[in-house]
Every structure is written in structure tokens, then in C-alpha cells.
């Protein structure tokens, strides 16, 4: 039996997803909100970027289901003990990449190592040359077969991918005809994108079994695998930071704008103070504090992964802390405006309680600000992580993240010949996510706030 391991960040991310789904099904958004979302998803760009984001989130969720494998049992004791290596469901899918470790660098699709090694010839002579990789291209006899093999495997994978995706797309189209006839979603482009994703994935799995598609890193771990594992870090960082920031911003922003007076002064003092501390310094100081906390409570963090996870959560929280002030200011201003409206005054006159007014009249009217700022902040957090990794206050070094990859890639680029695939992989994976998030957030902003908030970027 495997033993499930539940990290705090896993709990939070699943809670967040469940919460969002619950919110949308039970809250029955107003027709105006529905229309706005419709505007987002109607556009091809909006829907396709949404799909890409969903793919990333899906991978992140898969990677958030952790477990430990049991150790082989011994005769002495019947009790089962578990390995302290924590795996996730995603590792099971990409098991080939996890296990197939080389000794050190190898280029994408290489079958020889990237650095020379001392070896002994049959006659016992010492010489230095590029050794064969243990796994990458190990089924080949020599280098001349490689190109042919890659091409044939690619063709096969494409063929397989196209067949599977046509089946998928066909069934979607069939369902569409019967159920969603006349849907507003851009089904054709969505299907095309789906086909590309599915085919691409199949290609990765097919070729990943024989080669290191994006090469290996310094200790011979597969770079593609690292980049995929980093998805969880990126996604969680962006979403959990929002999870921490939004409640603060809502509570403080609305109360400041609604109650005014002393409450307003106190909250304004709080956020001016916080926002006048430079973010980087705040983050650096907080991360160092967390390190100390972990050190003083080592018994709670007996596994490396717990420690990394706790630090990661703290980083999310501190990201939240640095970002809530902007949203808070916006909410305060908007609440000031909304609470002057006649119907709010009327509600008060009828004796509706403060909580009633806030939840029923004010909150719905400022919710769009929350949505927009959350989506806008998301890409900023993902980008910030790489900078923090450089300063040395980013996520734990044992965690896979694009920031850590870029940081180590700096050294690799100065090698000659340069090791370019690590930085390229981090770049591509990060770029796709951030680009999608940015395009999607543009769409969301256009839909929810065609005029009012265009200057939000300036304020934030």
C-alpha cells in the first residue's frame, strides 16, 4: 500500500479549486457577470488561453497528489515503513523521465554525454572522451542511426497523436451537435488546440521513453521533467498568493471605504506603511524569518519536502502580503463611491445591518476589481519568482522551479560550448504560461471593465 502524503499547499490548492467551482455553481452569478464571462470565452484567444491555463493547472493538480512508496518488508518486523522519497501522481505518468538519470549534462536527443570523462580502453589505457549515455538513445548502435530513429519515432507519434486526437475531437463535435448546438464557445479553435496538445503529449511520451528530449542537467536529471515539475511551483505561487491576499484586501478595503473615519485612518496607515517598504526587502526579510522558524521546529518538518513546502507557502503568503495593498486601495476607493449611491443609503434607512449592506450591495459591486487584479497579479508572481531565486530568497533549492533552473543556467551559459537547453526549457515553459495568463487577463479586463479600470496597471 502506498501512503498518501498531504502537504499544506496541496490542501490549499484543492480547497481553492473546489471553492471556485462551488462558488460558480451555487452563487449563480448575475446575468451581467455571466455576460461578461461569455464575452471572454466567446473570443478564440480568450478560450484558447483559458485552455492552456487549464492544462497547466491540471498538471499542477496532478503533481499535488503526493504519496510515499512502502519500503520492502523485512523478516524481523511485520510493520510497514515508507521510503522518505515523496512522489506525486505526475511522477507515475512520467516515470520514465524520473528514473532515467544520466551522470551529467547531455544535449537534447543526445546519445553521448556532453562532457568528457576519464575512461579505460580495453587494453587498460586511460583516455578521455564523451561516454555513451546510460539511457538516452541506449537502444541505438551508433550515432548514424539516430536521425533516422528520431524521425521515424516522431512520425509514428504524430500518426498516433492524430488518430487519438481525431477520435477525441470527433466525439466532442458529436456531443456538440446533440447537446451544445449553437454554443457560443469557439469550438473549432478549441478542438484544434486540443489536437495539438494531445499530439504533443503523445510525442513527448513516445520519444521521452528513448531520449532526453530537452537534455539533462548537471547531475543527469531530465530537464523536461524538471520543467514540467516546475509547473506546480509556478501555478501554486500565482494562485495561492491571491488566496492569501484577497481576503485581507476585501475586508480591509471595504471596511475602510464603508466605515470611514478612524477605521479608514487605521487601514490607510497600515497599507501605506506596508507599501512603502520595498517588496524585495520585505520578502527577503520574511523568508529569512521563516528559515529560522523551521530551524526551531525541526521535529515538525522531518522530511525535506515538508520544509520546502512550508517555506513555499510562506513565500506565497508574503507575496500576498505585498500585493494586497494595491487591491485594498482600489477597493476602498470603489467602496467610497458605491456607498454613496442611493440604494445603499436606502438599504441603510430600512435598517439593513452593516454586514447585510456590505455582503448584498457593496461586495457584488466591487467583485470585478478582485477578479481583474487577481488575474493581473498572477503573471507578475510567476515572473517575480525567478528574480527572487537569483537574490537567494526564492523557493527552496530542493524544489523544482523555473527560477532555480534559470539561476543555475547562468553558469551553464558561460560554459563553452554553452549548455543552452536548461534555460531554453525554463524560458519556453514560463513564457507560454505567462503569455497565456497575460492574454487571458487582457480579455477578462476588457470584458469586465471596458472603461473604468484601464489605468489599473498604473496604480498597482
Amino acid at each position: 500500500m502506498i501512503k498518501p502524503i498531504v502537504l499544506w499547499s496541496d490542501i490549499f490548492i484543492f480547497l481553492l479549486v473546489l471553492g471556485l467551482v462551488g462558488l460558480f455553481t451555487y452563487l449563480k452569478p448575475s446575468s451581467e457577470t455571466q455576460a461578461n464571462w461569455r464575452k471572454v470565452f466567446e473570443s478564440r484567444l480568450g478560450f484558447c488561453t483559458f485552455m492552456i491555463l487549464c492544462l497547466y493547472i491540471f498538471i499542477a493538480l496532478l503533481d499535488s497528489l503526493h504519496f510515499q512508496k512502502p519500503l520492502p518488508s523485512t523478516e524481523e518486523s511485520s510493520q510497514v515503513f515508507y521510503s522518505n522519497e515523496v512522489l506525486s501522481i505526475l511522477d507515475l505518468i512520467h516515470v520514465g523521465m524520473l528514473d532515467k538519470e544520466e551522470k551529467t549534462y547531455s544535449a537534447p536527443f543526445a546519445m553521448y554525454s556532453y562532457s568528457k570523462e576519464n575512461m579505460f580502453s580495453d587494453s587498460g589505457q586511460l583516455y578521455r572522451d564523451f561516454p555513451r549515455l546510460i539511457h538516452g538513445g541506449s537502444h541505438l548502435r551508433d550515432d548514424s542511426e539516430r536521425m533516422k530513429d528520431i524521425v521515424s519515432k516522431t512520425l509514428f507519434a504524430l500518426f498516433k497523436g492524430i488518430i487519438i486526437s481525431s477520435i477525441l475531437i470527433g466525439s466532442i463535435l458529436l456531443i456538440r451537435r446533440t447537446y451544445f448546438y449553437g454554443t457560443f464557445l469557439p469550438v473549432n479553435s478549441a478542438c484544434l488546440l486540443l489536437g495539438i496538445i494531445v499530439t504533443g503529449w503523445i510525442w513527448v511520451v513516445e520519444l521521452g521513453a528513448y531520449y532526453h528530449i530537452l537534455g539533462t542537467n548537471k547531475v543527469g536529471a531530465d530537464v523536461l521533467y524538471q520543467a514540467i515539475k516546475s509547473i506546480r511551483t509556478g501555478i501554486l505561487l500565482g494562485t495561492l498568493a491571491a488566496l492569501f491576499a484577497v481576503p485581507f484586501a476585501i475586508v480591509f478595503g471595504i471596511s475602510a471605504g464603508y466605515f470611514k473615519g478612524k477605521v479608514d485612518d487605521a487601514i490607510q496607515y497600515l497599507y501605506t506603511t506596508l507599501s512603502s517598504i520595498p517588496d524585495v526587502l520585505l520578502i527577503a526579510a520574511a523568508v529569512l524569518v521563516i528559515d529560522v522558524y523551521i530551524e526551531n521546529h525541526t521535529d515538525q518538518f522531518n522530511l525535506l519536502i515538508y520544509r520546502a513546502d512550508f517555506k513555499f507557502l510562506a513565500l506565497c503568503a508574503i507575496f500576498g502580503l505585498t500585493s494586497w495593498t494595491g487591491l485594498c486601495r482600489l477597493l476602498r476607493a470603489e467602496t467610497l463611491k458605491v456607498s454613496q449611491l442611493d440604494y445603499v443609503n436606502a438599504a441603510r434607512a430600512f435598517g439593513v445591518s452593516h454586514t447585510g449592506v456590505i455582503t448584498r450591495h457593496i461586495l457584488p459591486n466591487v467583485m470585478h476589481l478582485v477578479i481583474i487584479s487577481t488575474v493581473l497579479n498572477f503573471s507578475g508572481f510567476v515572473l517575480a519568482e525567478s528574480v527572487l531565486a537569483y537574490i537567494g530568497v526564492g523557493v527552496d533549492a530542493s524544489m523544482n522551479s523555473w527560477g532555480n533552473m534559470i539561476n543555475s543556467a547562468r553558469q551553464e551559459l558561460s560554459r563553452d560550448p554553452a549548455v543552452w537547453w536548461s534555460i531554453l526549457s525554463a524560458f519556453v515553459f514560463m513564457f507560454i504560461l505567462v503569455l497565456s495568463a497575460n492574454l487571458f487577463s487582457d480579455k477578462v479586463r476588457d470584458a469586465f471593465d471596458p472603461r473604468g479600470l484601464r489605468r489599473m496597471r498604473l496604480d498597482l
Binding site: E76, F81, N118, K218, L304, S408
Partner: protein, 745 residues
């Protein structure tokens, strides 16, 4: 009023931009782009050096000035010779200060020779009554060193030595307000010099007792040097009485030192301390004249950092003329330096590799050494290859570019050879190790089982693989704590660590993992599980935070997994790590030691029980807290002996005890590879001493030539960029024209 100007501003801006837009005809546009590019070039050319290298990071130098370009990676913390105890700072100040002795530049094994002395200090042994006895005598209570200084050695020019017509110090003021006009050291325009005398050395020795100065090896020196503890007591009292006033240490007495005449003095130590002679070549024993201390302690000077910590002053070949920790530190030739010459003798091979070409020529050869702050390894390497730094180490990432391991051994790659770069390899007199905390209930202790557990780990931890993956083979597996070049080190089968290695076909081979598994089973953990409870054995490795990335962590975990042991890596920041070491909470850890002097005592004391870290309030060097009675006894015996077969035999016995107890799982001696560009002459690395720059030389013509060859700027990207701009602008302009002339209907 303000608004009006604002509008005007707008107007001018508009017309300017309009002009730009109107001129958007194709020919003119391209000429503008060319203009822009040529401006860029003009800027670059304007600041290129005289040969047109755009990327020269150094300011131009005067003709025929021999400048060496070097780096420092972190700002020096304190350059006071009584404080400094690290390599980076020593690289700077050891060129400036001259202790009584120095190491011979070329000879190996390391050999001491007089520097400011006429000859090596005369050593006599005294009994408790002060009468001279022989070395072997059992009544030896004191050892007395007599130093005779050379005459005519003069200090670098410095304002502290400036005197007025009456021979009184020129700069002297009693309150801060009169010090206001001197903001930095360079504001003191008048300089002077003085002769090196015996009291300068004595003054520095007294400074060691000053509690404010935090002398790093106080524990050692105060135990040997007669009267040091008394002097400290006096100084503490004096400081308490007058906390703000400068103390002239000449007014305090120290029993252990005696000035015989202006050029002769004596130092008396308790008992015997043969290693003392090595300290005499260390900058701790540099001369500091009272005049200098007085000058730096004038009112307001310390606050402005006009102090020894920032501005060293000495008699050496170089003097520090600029100290800007945020960008560069400059050493220049000391004009008062004379009468030192390049050595005639060296090792056998030195003559053939041209190290004796300059024999007998006066030192130093260089006029100036510029140390630039470079925090990152990458720019150093790139600039070295561009010829802008004269010397570089090799990081593991640039290794394959630089070095080729071939049948004949290690050689430079073709690229490096084409550039004329030369390679120096030296095994450092240093040892890095993976230590166990011997006070830990699991991995520590002295029972047979605990020893077996440690031995099993020692076999499983493949140091060779670590060296080849993470250090590119730049290291030598250690068979004992003693590195090569230190007395007691033995190569070949005689020095083999038989608990971990077998001797097969003339080389050491790590014992097979099965033996480790068996040992682990005998230790009570078959398959890495507790024999009784079946619980997996989880060990903790404590590291500092930045001591390795995920890759290295995975590798470490793999090593212990070979035995079924689960490894938990606890990374903390440096402070916390120190805390843990002090309170013996760490379980396993990495540590290292660089030799202070070439004597086995300097390494074996890392395992001497009374030096253990926890017992000594954190000042001990024995991080493992290893304590073996027999080992301690032998250590005390070995310590006071001079190198002899008897000493070797005792060391051998100590090493056997160490191997049986195995407080260190594994250790290695780092090798440094140093690359020099072809124009660097007379370079020979010295493992212990940093006093090397005065011997070195630069061929500046060759450097100029090579720099020109290597740094031809590639201009086509600029043109490509210009044409790209043009390609974007042209259709834009056409589209605009079309739009303007479009009919509305």
C-alpha cells in the same frame, strides 16, 4: 505660470517630433538610422581604449606602466594585520606588511627565510631560572627567540610619518573640529617615512593583547607568549578607566618581549612551541609603529574609517593607494622599497620553465596591481578569455573549455594553447571533510557497532564520484587529514586507508558496497533498518543554506540510499549552522581546513580532544568533538617534536587510531587549477604564503597585442538592427501615406 511653461514645452516637443515624422522619406530615414548607429559607435569608440577595443573594462593606463589586473570577490572586512585571518584579505595585505620571516618563493617543501632579519632568529631554551639549557633537557621552561633586524628598511610614504621642523608629528590635533577638513586619508597632503625598528614589532605584539582588536589566535598566543594575559588585564582596566582615549601601548609592559637595541629584540615563550616560527611569517607579526597607531587614533579618524582596518601601512613592496570596496583596490609600488632580489635557486624544474630568468633582479617588477570587485564567476572567466584579467581559476562549468584530460594526463585544450595560456595545478594544503558529530547518540560514540556504522558510511560515500561530478576531478581523495606537502603525508600503499580502500594493481580501490552493507548489518541496521524495531535509519546532514543545489542534494541522498539509509538534508543559514555545531546538535556536516603553516600539528589538532568545539565555548577547531585519550597523548608528544622518523611513526599511530574511530566519513584535498595568460611571468603558486606578487611580472606589449587580436568587435548585428528598423518603418510610412490620401466615401 508653471502651466505656461508646460505648454511651451509641449509645443517644442511637438515641432521636434513633427520634424522627425515629416522626414520619413525612405532615404532620409535610413540615413537617420545610420546616424543613430554611428552615434552609438562614436560613443563606444570614444570610450574604447587606444587600440579600439570597445569592450575593455579597464581605464586606460600610462605608457610603460606595468599593471596587473586581478579581482576580489567580496569587500575586505578588516585589513588590520592583527585581525585579518582569511585568504582574500591576506592576498591584499601580505604584499604590504613584512613580518620577520617569509617563505622561499620557489623552494619546495616550504622553507622559511629571513625577510626583515639579517638571519633566522636565534632560538635558545631556558630553564625556570633563566639559564640556557639544551633542547632535549627536561628542564626547558622557556624558549627565547632573538631577532636582529636589517638596517635601512623604510616605510612607505604616509602622513603618519610626516614631521615638522622640530621632529614632532606634523599632524596632531586634540579635538574633532580641527579634524573636520580631513575627510579621507588623501586629504592629508604631507607625507613622510621612517626606518623600521625593533619597537615596531614589539608594538604590534602588544596590540594582540588589546581586547578591542579581537586577535583571532589569542587562545594560542596567550598560552605561549610570556606575560600576554597580564598585559590584557592591564589593558582591560585601562580601557575601563578611559574608554575614549587612545592608549599608547609603549607605556605598557609585556614580560615576554624585550628591546635589546634599535634593531634587536627578543621574544620569550613558555615551554617549547616549534610551530611558532611559522607564525613569524604570518602577517600577525607585522610591524606597526606607534606613530601610525597614534595617527589613526587622532580624534575623529576612526569614525571616518581612517584606520588600520582600511588603510594598511607597511614596508613591503607595495602600498595601497586606493581602497574603494565597492569597485576597486589599487596597490602601487612602494618608492621606499629596496634591496630585495629575485631568488637564484628553486626546485629542479624551475629553471627549465623559465622561473629563474630574472634571478638577481631587484623586486618588485610590477608598478601597479588593480584588484577589481567581481562578485560573479562568469564575468571573471569571460574577461580572462578576453585578456582583461591576467589570471583566473577554473570554475567547474568552464572546465572542459580549458582543460583536456588525455592519455598523457591533464593538459590545456587546443583553444587555451592557441591563446598561449599556461596551467598551474597544485594540491592545496587543505582538507575538506564530511564529519560526524561524535557526541551524537546514533552516529557518534565509540562502541564497536557505532564504529562499524561510520565505517560503512565511509565506504558507501563515493568521494571520487563527488570530485569528478561537482569538482571536475579537481581534488585528491584524502587517506588521512594530512594533505600532500605536510610532514606525515604518505603517498602510495603506505599511506592507504585500509579500512575503506584496497590496494589493487598499484592504486587504491574503494571496497565493494557489500562490505559496507555487511558492516551496517553488524552495526545493528541490516538493510538500513533497525534490527529490533525495524524502523528505517534516518540520518541528518546539516549544511549551510547555499552549499549546494538540488542536484547535489540528490547525489548525497543517493550515496546513503546505497545502504538503505535515508538521508535528510537540513539546510540552514550560516548563523544557525554555527549554533548547531556549537551545541552539538548537528549529526553530519561538511567542514574544511586550510593550513596556517606547513606542520602536521596544524591538521591533527582538528581531532585533538581538548580542542573540541562544544567544550571550548565555540572557539575550538575540533568540530567533530572527537576525543580519544591515546590520540590526545600522542598529539601532545608529536606537537613539540621536530620532523624525524620518530615523529613520523607517532603520526602513523595517530592516523591508525583516527581510521579505526573514523570521526570523518570522508575527506579530500582540493586541487586548484590556475590559468595564466601568456604575458604573466614568474608565476609559481604557493600553498601557504600570499607574498607572491612582488616576484611576478607582466609583458605589457604582448598583452596589448593579444587583447587587440581577441577583441575585434562584431559589428554586423548593429547593421542588422538598423536595417530591421528600416524594414519596420518603411511599410509604416507607406501605410500612413495611403491612409492620408484615402477617399472617405
Amino acid at each position: 505660470m508653471y502651466l505656461a511653461t508646460f505648454n511651451q514645452l509641449n509645443d517644442t516637443l511637438c515641432s521636434d517630433e513633427l520634424w522627425l515624422m515629416i522626414n520619413f522619406t525612405s532615404v532620409q530615414v535610413s540615413s537617420r538610422v545610420v546616424l543613430v548607429t554611428s552615434f552609438l559607435m562614436a560613443v563606444s569608440v570614444g570610450c574604447a581604449d587606444k587600440n579600439g577595443n570597445w569592450n575593455n573594462p579597464h581605464a586606460p593606463e600610462k605608457e610603460n606602466i606595468r599593471v596587473m589586473y586581478s579581482v576580489f570577490t567580496s569587500p575586505p572586512k578588516n585589513l588590520d594585520p592583527v585581525r585579518t585571518y582569511n585568504l582574500d584579505e591576506a592576498t591584499l595585505i601580505d604584499q604590504i606588511y613584512e613580518p620577520p620571516l617569509e617563505y622561499h618563493y620557489l623552494k619546495r617543501p616550504y622553507q622559511l627565510k629571513p625577510l626583515t632579519l639579517k638571519e633566522l632568529p636565534k632560538l635558545e631554551y631556558l630553564n625556570a631560572d633563566g639559564a640556557i639549557v639544551s633542547e632535549e633537557s627536561e628542564y626547558v621552561a622557556y624558549s627565547r627567540y632573538t631577532f636582529e633586524l636589517k638596517e635601512g628598511i623604510r616605510y612607505q610614504p604616509h602622513p603618519a610619518f610626516a614631521v615638522n621642523d622640530f621632529g614632532q608629528p606634523y599632524y596632531s590635533f586634540s579635538n574633532e573640529s580641527s579634524a573636520k577638513k580631513y575627510r579621507v586619508l588623501a586629504d592629508f597632503k604631507r607625507v613622510g617615512t621612517k626606518e623600521l625598528v625593533a619597537s615596531d614589532y614589539i608594538y604590534q605584539i602588544k596590540r594582540m593583547a588589546d581586547p578591542r582588536l579581537q586577535f583571532p589566535i589569542w587562545d594560542i598566543m596567550s598560552n605561549y607568549l610570556v606575560g600576554m594575559k597580564d598585559l590584557r588585564k592591564q589593558l582591560v582596566q585601562a580601557r575601563r578607566d578611559n574608554p575614549k582615549v587612545w592608549l599608547n601601548l609603549d607605556t605598557f609592559s609585556l614580560d615576554g618581549v624585550k628591546e635589546i637595541d634599535q634593531h634587536t629584540f627578543q621574544i620569550t615563550l613558555h615551554k617549547k612551541y616549534p610551530q611558532f616560527k611559522y607564525w613569524l611569517a604570518f602577517h600577525f607579526f607585522s610591524p606597526i609603529p606607534m606613530e601610525l597607531d597614534r595617527f589613526y587614533n587622532l580624534p575623529g579618524q576612526q569614525e571616518k574609517n581612517i584606520s588600520l582596518a582600511f588603510h594598511p601601512v607597511g614596508t613591503g613592496a607595495f602600498m595601497m593607494t586606493k581602497h574603494d570596496a565597492s569597485s576597486e583596490i589599487i596597490l602601487e609600488k612602494n618608492p621606499n622599497f629596496s634591496a630585495q632580489y629575485y631568488p637564484y635557486e628553486g626546485e629542479m624544474k624551475d629553471e627549465s620553465i623559465g622561473l629563474l630568468m630574472d634571478s638577481g633582479k631587484p623586486l618588485p617588477f610590477l608598478d601597479k596591481i588593480i584588484f577589481r570587485l567581481e562578485k560573479e564567476a562568469i564575468p571573471i572567466w569571460t574577461k580572462f578569455l578576453q585578456g582583461y584579467y591576467d589570471r583566473s581559476g577554473i570554475g567547474s562549468d568552464s572546465f572542459d573549455q580549458a582543460v583536456d584530460m588525455s592519455v598523457d594526463g591533464i593538459a590545456l585544450t587546443d583553444e587555451m594553447q592557441r591563446k598561449g595560456i599556461s596551467l598551474n595545478m597544485t594540491v592545496e594544503p587543505a582538507t575538506y571533510y564530511l564529519g560526524f558529530n561524535m557526541l551524537d547518540p546514533v552516529v557518534g560514540g565509540y562502541s564497536e557497532q557505532q564504529k562499524k556504522l561510520r565505517n560503512a558510511i565511509a565506504i558507501a560515500y563515493d568521494e571520487q564520484e563527488q570530485i569528478s561530478i561537482f569538482r571536475n576531478g579537481r581534488g585528491e581523495i584524502a587517506m588521512s587529514p594530512l594533505p600532500p606537502g605536510i610532514f606525515g603525508y604518505q603517498s602510495g600503499e603506505r599511506g592507504l586507508d585500509k579500512k575503506v580502500f584496497d590496494w589493487v594493481d598499484g592504486k587504491p580501490v574503494r571496497k565493494p558496497i557489500e562490505i559496507a552493507t555487511r558492516l551496517l548489518s553488524e552495526a545493528g541496521y541490516p538493510g538500513g533498518r533497525d534490527r529490533i524495531t525495524g524502523k528505517p535509519l534516518v540520518l541528518n546532514l546539516d549544511t549551510t543554506k547555499n552549499s549546494g543545489d538540488a542536484a547535489r542534494q540528490n547525489w548525497l541522498i543517493k550515496q546513503f540510499n546505497k545502504l538503505g539509509i535515508q538521508l535528510n538534508i537540513r539546510a540552514t543559514d550560516y548563523n544557525r549552522f554555527q549554533d548547531k555545531m556549537e551545541s552539538a546538535k548537528a549529526q553530519m556536516f561538511f567542514w574544511g581546513w586550510f593550513a596556517d603553516y606547513p606542520d602536521p600539528e596544524n591538521f591533527l589538532f582538528l581531532l585533538y580532544g581538548p580542542n573540541s568545539r562544544t567544550g571550548s565555548g565555540g572557539s575550538g577547531v575540533n568540530s567533530t568533538n572527537y576525543n580519544n585519550q591515546r590520540f590526545n597523548e600522542l598529539f601532545n608528544q608529536m606537537k613539540v617534536m621536530s620532523n624525524s622518523p620518530k615523529r613520523l611513526q607517532i603520526i602513523g599511530e595517530m592516523l591508525e587510531i583516527y581510521r579505526k574511530d573514523r570521526p570523518w566519513a570522508s575527506s579530500f584535498h582540493p586541487t586548484t587549477f590556475i590559468l595564466n595568460n601568456a604575458w604573466v611571468k614568474n608565476f609559481k603558486p604557493h600553498g601557504i604564503s600570499q607574498v607572491t606578487l612582488k616576484y611576478q611580472d607582466i609583458d605589457i606589449e604582448l598583452r596589448e597585442k593579444r587583447r587587440d587580436e581577441w577583441n575585434k568587435p562584431v559589428v554586423w548585428p548593429l547593421w542588422l538592427f538598423a536595417s530591421l528598423c528600416f524594414l519596420v518603418v518603411l511599410p509604416g510610412y507607406l501605410a500612413y501615406r495611403r491612409r492620408q490620401t484615402q477617399k472617405v466615401i
